[in-house]
Every structure is written in C-alpha cells, then in structure tokens.
Symmetry: D2
Subunit: 435 residues, 4 copies
C-alpha cells in the first residue's frame, strides 16, 4: 500500500479553507468540496483543527442515526487533545478522529546478558504484566537470562512470470549465480540495507524471489522495498520477457502464518535461555521443576502438535510480544509471525532450564510508530530509542532480545501457574486469563 | 494466569501510606516496604498518585544508569494525566506507569448488510486507514457487502491423563455419549454460556478436551473457563483416576497459529462478500477485474501455498484486524488466529466478486479492554457497545461482521494497488507498506 | 477416475483376433487396428496372451531405440508367467506387461490385545523387517501392546458453488439441520456404509461437503462415492441453483498431507501403547528408558516441530505402514496420510511407556488389491482376509490395529538403535537406514 | 537402523545345518537352536531352502491356531519359487517367506524434453494406469512436456546438544563460517557425494544440522550418512563439549510430512510443464480449458488451503509417484514427501498450460530396491538403469523427471475427468477412484 500525497481538496476555494468556520468546513465536507480525508491538507499546519472538524462531521452523521445521542457522546469519549499531531499526520494515520490510550505497565526489570532492563508492556489484559513481572523477577533472582541473535534480515518477495519454463529456469540460475551483482544494485539505494540472501523458487513459470536484507535499526519493510525495486530493474534488463506480477507474492511472508518464516527466519532470529533455581521454582513460582518439564511436553509440544500448529509451540508468547510491540510502536499486525516460538524446558541438575526459540521477531527502533512520543519514551527506557550511532542495528537487536526475554518471563510464569494449579490439587480458579 | 488480589504491602505502616510524601513512598518501595506492584493497593483509591510514585521509582532507577537524563526525560514523555484509572486498576493492567496513545482513524463508512458502518482503526502504520477507506468506499459505491456468521463459540481444552489406554478410551466414549450431562454442568455456571460441542482427542493416554461454547457478547475466555471447571469436576467424579494436567493443553488453541482453529473455527466464523462493479474497479481502483483475479491466484493462493501457510491465504487481513481490535479494546494477541483468512476473487459477468473467509474472529463487546472509555466509544460508534439487551451475542456478532467487512475493504484496496502497479507498467513506487 | 469398460478394438476384424499370430497382433497394434490398451479385450479370456503381445510391442519399440538390446532384455527380466491374470484384468491394472515382485518378510509375532499376530511386510529396504521384528519381540516379552480404535470413517468431499453468499449460508444450515435426511439418502445405496457426519465449510460462495461414513471391511472410497452421489442428488433438489463443481474438492483429503485428516481423522483412528520393561530396554534394545524418553522429545517432538511438520511426530511410521500396506494389498498412495503419527514416550515406574497415535489409517480387507492371491494370503495369516461374516468391519479394524502395532514396534526399535548409538559413545555406524 | 550381520545360530551344531532335514530344522527353530531370523545364515548359500523352512515354521504355528487350515493354505498362496534370492538376502529383506507380486502396466510413452519415455507403473488400483496413459497421450499429441531439475540434494540432520546457549551460538557460527572445511571432511568419504549446504538451526541449546549433498545416481541416504559421520567427527573435535544426541533429529526430514522439505527441497526439485492444445482438451479429454482452470483453483488451491495442507496442492500426485516408485525399486515410504506437489493451470491463448512443481522427489537408480531384477528392468526400459557412466547423477535425474512427467499426465487426466463429469451434467458415475 502506498503512502501517497494526500489529495487536494475537491475544488479550489477562493479564500483559504482555514478562514472558514468549523460549521462551514463541515458543510464543505458534506458537499464534497473537501474530501473527508483531505481535511489535514486543507487546514495544515493546524492538524488539530482538521481533526476537530472531522469529529463534527462524524458526529453529525452519527446524530442522524437511531441511537444518535449515544453515538455522539461516544465520540466525545475518544480523546484528541494534548497530542502532538504533527508527528502523526502524513506518517502514521489518516482520517484521524483522536487516539486510543492503551494502559502501560512495567515488568521486571529482567537481568539479561548481564544488565537489567525494564520491560514496558501496553495492554488491556489484566494479569499479563503482573505475571510477566513475576517471571522476570524469578529469572533475575536465579542469575538472569542469556540471549542470542542468530540471524537477521527483513524480507520481500516479488512474484514474476516468465514466458516458458526454460526461461524461468534461466532466471533461477541467474539469481543463484549473480548474487553479488544483485546485491550491489540493491545496496546502491540504501546506506543501511545489506542484502543477505536471495532465494528464488518456482511454481511452474512463476518465480518468487525472496530478498533478505539487514536494515539497520529500522524494521525495514520500506528500506528493503527500495532495494528490491532496484534489483528487479536490473533483472528486468537481463530478462526482458519477465513480467513483474506484484511487488509481494506472499512468499515474504508478511503478517500471515507461514512455514517459510519459521524455517528461514524473518526480522531477528533470537534464542533466550535461563536456568531458574529449584528454590525459586518452588518458593516463588509455587511448583516443581519436574512438573514444569512434564507440562511443557504435554501442552507446548504434544498439545500444539495435535492442534496442527506450525510455530506455535508455546503457551502465550503472543501476549508478551503484543504488549511490548504496542508499548514501543511496532506494527501489531506483525505479532502474527513475531510470536512464533518454541518453548523448551528440561531439568539441569535440580534446576530448570527454560529456553524460547523465536525465528522471526520483526522490530525496529526507527520509523513506523517508534517516532511517536510515548512509544519513543518506552524505547528510551530500555536504552534503545532511535538509531544506534555507534553500531547501526544494535538498538533493534537489543529490542528483539528484550522481546525474547519478556516472552521467556511470561512463559515461565504462566506455565508455573498451570503446573501449580495441578500440584496443589486446587480446583481451577476463576478469572484465569492468558492461558 | 490468574488475576489474584494485589498483595498487601510488605509491612504494616503505622500511618496510612497515603499520608506519606511521594519521596517517602519511593523510599518505601526501594526498601521493599511496599512492593513495586503494590502501590495501587497502598494508595487506593488514589490510583493516579500510585502511578505518579511508581514513575518516580522508575525515574530514579533510570537516572542512575548511563544515559540517565535521557531515560528520565523519556519517562516524562509517557502520558498518565487525565485518564480514568479507576477502570483500569484491577482489570486491565498492573505496574502502571501511564498509557500509550495509538492514533485513531475512521475508514468508510462501509455499506454492510444494508446499513452503513464506520470502521474505527487504531494504528501507527501510515496508509492503512486511507487504503481501507478507499476499499470501503468502492464496495459501498458498488452496492455494499454481505456477511454471514456461520458459526460461533469460544474454546478451552484442558489436558488430562488416564492411567491406561483402556481408561482413556472410556473417557473418550463417555464424552461422546454424555454430552448433555456435561452441557448441563457447564451451563449451570453461566447465564450466557451455551456449550456447543466437546471434542475429545487422545495422544496415547493423554486426552485433550476441546469445549466450545457461545458466550453472549463477551469474547468469552473467562466465561468458558468457569463452565469447563464445572464440567471437569463432573468428569473427575466419573473418572477418579483421571489427573488434570492443565486447564489448557494448547488444543484450544489460543494465540498460537493452529490448524484446529482454521478447520473447526474459534470465536466467530464469518464470511463476507462483495460484488465490485467493473467501473469502480477501473475508475476508483485503477486496475482491471482480470488483473485482480489473476493476481489473487498468484499471490494469495499459490504464493501462500509455496510459503507453507495454514490460514494465511490473504494479502493483509492482519492489518485491518489489528487496527480494529486496538480501536475496540480487543486482545491484540488474538490477532494471531483472528486474522487467518482466505481471500478469493472471481469474475462474475464483468464485475469482481471478492470474498473473505475468516473462521476464527475472537471478539467481544463486554469485558477486557472494551470497558475503557475510548474503546467503548469506538464500539458505540458502530452501535455495538456493551451487551445487547434484546439479543445477547448480537453486538459481538456485529463487531465480527465489521471486522470481516473491514478486511474485505483492505484486501480489495491493497490488491488493487498491487495490480495497478503492474498494469501501469510503473516502477514500484517507494514507501509502499502493508503489503 | 472412472474404471470404464475397456474400449473395443479400433476396427472390426473379419476373424477373431485370437486367431491371429502374435506377430500379426503386434502389427495390428502398431497400425492402430487394436488399441495398445485394448489387447486384453481383444484376446479375452486369454489375458496372458494379451500381455505377451503387449510385451512384444514394447520390445519392438525398445529395440529400435539406442541401447535397444539392453532395453529388450530388460523387458525379459520382468516376470509375467504363473500369475492369475483373471483377477487383475479389469480390476487392478491396465496396459499390463507383467508384475514386480516385492520381497515379503514376517516380523513378530507381536502380542496385541492378548493375542499373537504375525506382521507381514513387503519391502526392499534392508533392515526394516529385522528392526520391526526386534521391536515386536521386545513388546511381546514385556507383556504385549494394547490398541484402541477411537473412530472410523472414510470421507469424500464434493465442492459446490451457490449463486450468492445467502444461498451458501442456507445450504450450510440445511446440512447441519437435516443430517438424518441426508443420512437416509446416503445409506439407501449401500448395505455396509453408514454416514457418520457431514461437515460443510464455506470458502466464500463455494461449499465443501465432507461426508464421513463407515464402510464395513472395505477401505471404502467406492462405497462412499455412491452414497455421496445419492445425497448430492437430494441436495440438488433442495438447492436447484447449486452447481456441483467436482465430486472431490480436496477437503476429503485423499493422498495429500492435510490438517483436516490429522484433526478429524480418516479411515481408522487408532492408538496403541505398550509398557516395555526396563530389563528388556537394557538387554534387548541396548539402551535406557531415560535415553529413549529424552530422545523422543528432541527428535520426534522438537525436531519435527522445528521442521514445520503437521502429523509427522514420529521416527519412521511410514516405513512400517508402507510395508504392511504392500503386503496386504492396500493403496500405497494412501501411505501419505495413513502414516501420520505422534509417538510419545515416558517413564512409568522404571519402565518405558510408548504410544503411537494414528488418526487416519486407511485400510480395507476387501476390494482394491486385497483380492490378489498373495495379498489375500497375508491378510489370512493375520486372520482378517475378506469381509468379516459375524461383524462387518471387524477385519478392517483388526488390520488397522496390526498396522498401529507394527508402527509401535518399528518406532521402539529404531529409536533404541539411535539412543544406543549415542549411549555406547559409538561412532555412527554405516549402513543405517530408515531413520 | 543398522543392517548388522545376521547373528549366528544360537548354538553350534555338530553337523552343518544344511545336512538336517526340513523337519529337523523346523524343530531347531522352535527349540531356539536357530533364530527365526537366522535361517538364511544357517543354510547359506541355499537361501531358497531357508525360506522354505521358515514357511514351514510359520505354517505350523498357523496350523495350531483357530482357522488353522485356512491360514496354512494362505501361506501357500504366497509365491517364493523362481526368484533370485541371492540379490535379496542381506540387502532388501529379512525373515523372508516369499514375495508379493504387484501388477505392472505401462503408461505413455510420453514425449518429454524431446524424447519419448514409457512410464512403468506397478499398482493394484484399477484405472490409474489407464488414466495416466490418457494424460500422457494427450500431452504427447500436444507437443510434449518440458521438465527442469531446479535443485538436488539428499539431506540428513543430526541433533546435538551444547552445554550452554553461548556454545550453541558458537557452533552455529562455526557451521556458517567453515563450510568448506566441513565439506572437505564430508567428501573425503565418498566419490559421488558433494556437500551442497549445511543449515544449522537452534532450538535452545540443541542444534539441528541439516546437511544436504548430491549423491550421484543413488537416492543417497547411506552415502550421506557416511559423509555426515565424518563431518560430525570434525565438529566434535572443535566442540568437545558437544553431545551428539542422534544421527537424525527429524529436521532432515525423512518419510514424514514437513515444511522444511517443501520450502528447501530434498532429493530432486523438479518442475514440469505442458501446453495442451484446446482441441485435445475437448476431443480427447472431453472438457474445456476454462473448466479445468477454474476447477484447479477450486480444488487444488482453495480446497487444499481449506484442508490445511502443506504441499498437497494437487489432485493425485501420490498415485503416480507410488506406482512409479514401486515399479522402479524406490522406497515407497518416501512417497510421503516425494508426492508433495503444486499443480497449476492457466489459459495461454486458447490452450491449457499445466505445470507441476515437486520440490522433493527422492529417487535413485542404484541401491535399495533398484538392483532387483524386475525393478532394474523397469529402469532400463526408460534408459536409466544403474549408474550413469558418462555423467554420474544423470540417471537419477532422468528418473525424477519421468516421475514429474507421470504426475503431470495423471493430474491432467483426473482433473479432466472431474471437469467433464460436471460439464456433461452427468451424475457422478460409480467406480471412480483415485480422486
């Protein structure tokens, strides 16, 4: 989807739109002199007023409906004041009528790779922060967790068509044998993007070209698109009969469950592990190492296997991922693949070894929602706001490690709660959530 | 995870905590006289002050770190004033330090089943609202879309162990033959919950019991848990040797990719379709019906098939689902399965028939984040806030239909953008997102 | 695919074909007076001669090619004498040139549900029978295995199209509410087939109707097709605007990997378990219970999870399934789904509990290849040849249980071999296979 | 599983076993003086006699059972005479009691890459050969098909454990950075095996090392095992703390459904395509191009997507694969992954473009069952028996291409049958199979 320039108002006004009253502006929208989506442009730089007018438009429509007063007052419950709309307009949202506040809690801090990090979580699901906090404290008390970023690279996979299988075969061969040429083309468009790999698969005469590149501290979808564009131009010259069907052929794969991300990774591929002391398991987490190890097999491995899951071998990775993503301005639709995770538990000596393996955590510390004030604040709290000056990419990697550590803490705590429920012989208590 | 009562402060204070100064309270936390997470309880009902004190605690820690000033000021960029914390504390978040604002736009309205609905979307991803708006307008101009709720039911699947395969077989048989008894037990705990089905699968001696129930206007995870608890007690009496391993054995499946939800549904199973006029496709969407039909096969069917996807046969369903979920207080971790979708396109006469098939949209209009002011406002705008008085469940069904309609609009618009890119022979433009 | 009558020879001969010499018949084929595939019909009932002539045709073509002598002699290495072609022609194969012998071994006997059964295995993979034999003996020495047939039913899923989503919804509803009517129609066509369930899923306006029925001792694909045909006629009357697209819409699913079979079962759903004594594990299988339990997690659960498997949580189920299928005249293409299996191992006391869970074993003891002499012999050896007179279906169920027991034995033995390899600190030995 | 030397008879006999009568030998087995599986060794080189004695042992056991006569006579229906047992014993089967004949038909010839090839198919499923024959003829009449071997390589993936995540990370890095060293070690064990790639994935501290190598004309499981063994020894030296858990950790993946094979390929990755003339579609296949294109979407793409398939986007690939595998001595358990296939159809001009994409066809022309006389004969008929002298690997590649071409023919014919059924408005006919 392209972020095109916001179109001009429908018709040129004799006086600047900004000199009209709100009521006149509402009329102008209703009579299609200004597009509903064009208010920001018409009234720039006064974006707040544009939003105010749009709310009146919506309010008036609502008021004419059955239940109109209720709807009108509903609109008033959506805040829009005291917000820095300059950052949002043109970057993060269109047809704006306000904002939705998501409560923000802090779990931890968690000791990770020798340093303590708070885990900011934006959520409306009660008990999630408390539970993650408990897990984080248990890990920290036991000496902390270690993380490892195994691989890195955002992907984009255009789909193209060739006029014959022979030609498709030639393209396949070309991609395998001319990686450095394509890499050069790709990298000429970007300072930070480095092409890692290009995987070309055929489905008959159609080819899906999965480009994978590191993208500095950005999540990287935009950056990679530019590079892919350039590389595709080069390919087009080599294969004039090639027809580009679409910039994305779903072999990327973005925001959909897919084995290709689980198998080959997307974004950051991170593993985290902690050894939780037997004492902590028993006293803080109220269960036993044996019960956890056995529950992990029955639920996270066998249960998910029976359910036909690809990548869902965990208890609640998505809860922690979604909450950290919202807090730090990540794209919540990417929770789909960023939350794929295999949780393993085993007994080492008397203690519990717990690991989470997460091959496609898609995060960035610049771009997207990361520039909004509160979200940027959350990143700064962890020390990874914006682009890393010394080592570009380091901030985004740190964020991905915190995500994995947060998942580790959340897994540990929820699994303990389930195991404890059993061990205590207790009836299942009410109001359990996030299982 | 259980939402337990917030624990008492570590030690009893001689004077009420509320009479201490903020500085004294910060000291009390640091010296562990008050738990970090216990501030709300210590200072109730003045939750705002609790949050203020927590921010000071966090700020002081941050200040001692390298880069301390930056971190402290970061904290100040996270808003917490002017918010109704009474609704949040004890329900939606713990360890609160403020909230994160997510910009809110309106797409549409879209004509759905004969009535117009605005589509509220909270997002930080530029162009998403604009694109969905374009899709919604195109559908509305073409006569609107139809939706169908094919099935309904939240699920929960405990895992149990039997002492032998023979006993496991007996349990399996009992569940198949005594549904009405179990249903009665389940329904004795709830006014709205109605048990639909119980599927018992064995993995050796372990049994996974997938209960599925309608849950009125609630998303239903809590409601179903109560009913399952009761039904499990009854089973325990019948099978004294049965050992309940955990309340959830991942065969539910909650917040993980899984075939069981794709095949059997979870939450609402919704299909939406629209016939988009050839004129609208060409003039508004700037492409052709044939190009869309063919792109849908190459990308959404073949591309996702090559990528090894289960349930991801679409272009960007998760984008629309996540944005509507955030706007309306749904659980963003459930975007994982709620966004599974198969998008189909075909030519009917000269026009485009587009459908989306979404078997597990998990939504509610009461409970969770739906009670927060702004989120409730978004629900009211669509006329589905809270519980439906006349027909319990109707509001949640309406919300699920709007989600499907929103996805329909988003799919149409993005696919058109991709198809148009090709048709115009244009180079791939920069800043495309959400593909 | 339909088994149509073999077409007549191209032109009427003045004298019966059978009076011509072989050389004349070869000429007749080459000059297209007799179809290549029509020889059996032309020369009936002398099928052996038809095959002989076809071999000459093939031989002559081969002889004209480069390497001709080699090819001709190759043909002579394919046996065709001393075989009862009457049973084959018109039932099992066309364009026949002979047969391929597959070596047949016997594993076991295995003590299953209190009785001993030999396990016939046809295979060319060295060590498979020996290994399964070892597993079967270990199980038998430990007291045998138990099996359970949890569910039963062959499936067939036509795909149909309705003219609107509303109509598709009506069909969906009709199928759910009129099961007994459809069942009656279905069962009017067959003495053995009993319709168990009908699952109707929509993808937009298309509906996939998955009929599931027990089919006596037959594997049942033919039987169910007749019943489905009748039920579809009834549906067609109720929904005149319904268009049947195809008898099978792949939602059955036959001979393809699919979650629907893994989740809902196809053929027989069987679980088998054995408790293998610690002594036997150590002395016969040369490893330890602990090493097996831990290897099973690392390989069969985590390894397959990492590989993105749906239904492949085992070591070598397909080996045993394929070998028993070939020995008993089953359809080897159905090994694809019949071999899906989850193998679990745990320690019970000091002993090993091993189970295999196999939801879609597709077998029959009548029809298909089961009527051929040697294959029927293998079935008789186990006491399940042909149709069970007393309890129709019992023979096929017995066969499915032997398959599961055979898999249990094969899994036990191979896993032990792998675990022993490690325990002995031995270098991996050569010539290991079937891992 | 290791093919160990057949153990000696239990006790040393004073006279050679071969001098005993059959009755005495039967007694020796029953009194455990000779192992049931040791007869071949005891009586070598007279293997036929060993089999004869084993049959008597089995017969006598059978005779003592209820239904004994029936069982005994059953045994007699299993042939064992006139077969070259020398080739089988020690290589292909143990505990032999005879062989199972599988009828063999010839489909085609099919014009493939400019040359005609017969397609040998061993099957007991009526209509399969006839249908494939029809497809092959239609393709040949239309100018033939083209094939492309895109990639090649058998795989084996040991699983190992490291004592910490840090060490696991070091191993991961080592594998990525020292490929040539490992390649050298691997290739020192084999003349034909060439290591292509090594993919190391972590699940916590466990690493799965997927070696992929070309293996000349062998299917290659044995060859690669030797090379992997050597490479693992080298790794063990570099990482003394590494513990090899098992030679295969299921990430290979052999004989189980898995996304890793679908995404990365195993054996040969082959694509085949044909343009079938509109006339041929209508006259020979009795349907229309449009009906086929549309059916392919509804059944092979959408139907399989709804069924949650990974790799099963076809109508009946497994039927053709299984039949050709049996005819040519391949491992029928490998039909599981060798039959994964995406079939696509589109209209090009007025004609039908059909393609099959098959990423993991696991075949060889030496080793396994390929050395048996009849199977070798089938390979010779196609001109690919044994090892290619000029270009090692060429014979196996040819076989994989014939498999793909056979699947292409089978898909075309079955889909036409289904489409024709609809177009003719005909009721679904009985006795359709292999859908």
């Amino acid at each position: 989807m392209f972020r095109k320039a916001i179109p001009l108002a429908c018709s040129a006004a004799k006086v600047p739109w900004s000199e009209l009253t709100n009521a006149e502006l509402v009329d102008a929208v209703n009579s299609r002199k200004i597009h509903f989506y064009g208010l920001e442009q018409a009234l720039q730089p006064n974006y707040k007023r544009a939003i105010e007018v749009r709310r009146e438009v919506v309010s008036r429509v609502a008021f004419q409906q059955p239940d109109g007063e209720k709807k009108e007052s509903a609109l008033h419950s959506i805040p829009f004041e005291n917000y820095d709309w300059d950052r949002v307009v043109g970057h993060n949202c269109e047809n704006i009528i306000g904002y939705v506040p998501i409560p923000l809690g802090i779990a931890g801090p968690i000791l990770m790779d020798g340093k303590e990090y708070p885990i900011p979580m934006a959520t409306t699901e009660g008990a999630l922060v408390a539970s993650t906090h408990r897990g984080a404290r248990s890990i920290t008390k036991s000496g902390g967790c270690n993380t490892l970023v195994l691989g890195e690279g955002m992907t984009r996979a255009p789909v193209v068509e060739l006029p014959s299988l022979v030609e498709a075969g030639r393209l396949h061969k070309y991609c395998n044998e001319n990686f450095s040429t394509l890499k050069e083309a790709f990298e000429s468009t970007t300072r930070f993007g480095k092409l890692n790999s290009l995987k070309c698969v055929l489905a008959g005469r159609k080819a899906y070209l999965r480009f994978r590149a590191t993208t500095g501290d950005a999540m990287g979808m935009n950056m990679i698109t530019k590079g892919v564009d350039r590389a595709m131009s080069l390919l087009q010259q080599q294969f004039p009969s090639m027809r580009v069907i679409a910039l994305s052929g779903n072999y990327c794969t973005d925001k959909k469950p897919s084995a290709v991300n689980w198998i080959e990774g997307r974004g950051k591929s991170v593993v985290a592990e902690a050894t939780v002391l037997a004492d902590v398991v028993e006293e803080t987490l109220k269960c036993t190492v044996d019960s956890l190890v056995s529950l992990n097999v029955d639920k996270n491995l066998v249960g998910s296997a029976m359910a036909g899951s690809v990548g869902g071998f965990n208890a609640q990775a998505a809860n922690a991922v979604a909450a950290i993503f919202l807090a730090t301005g990540q794209d919540p639709a990417q929770v789909v693949e960023s939350s794929t995770c295999l949780t393993s538990m085993s007994k080492v000596g008397n203690d519990l070894l717990i690991t989470v393996t997460m091959p496609s955590i898609e995060v960035g510390t610049v771009g997207g929602g990361t520039g909004l004030v509160a979200q940027r604040g959350c990143l700064e709290l962890m020390g990874c706001g914006g682009s890393s000056k010394e080592t570009p990419g380091e901030n985004a990697r740190l964020l991905s490690r915190v995500v994995a550590a947060g998942v580790l803490a959340a897994e540990l705590s929820l699994m303990s709660g389930l195991a404890a429920g059993h061990l205590l012989g207790a009836h299942m208590r009410l109001n359990r959530k996030q299982i």
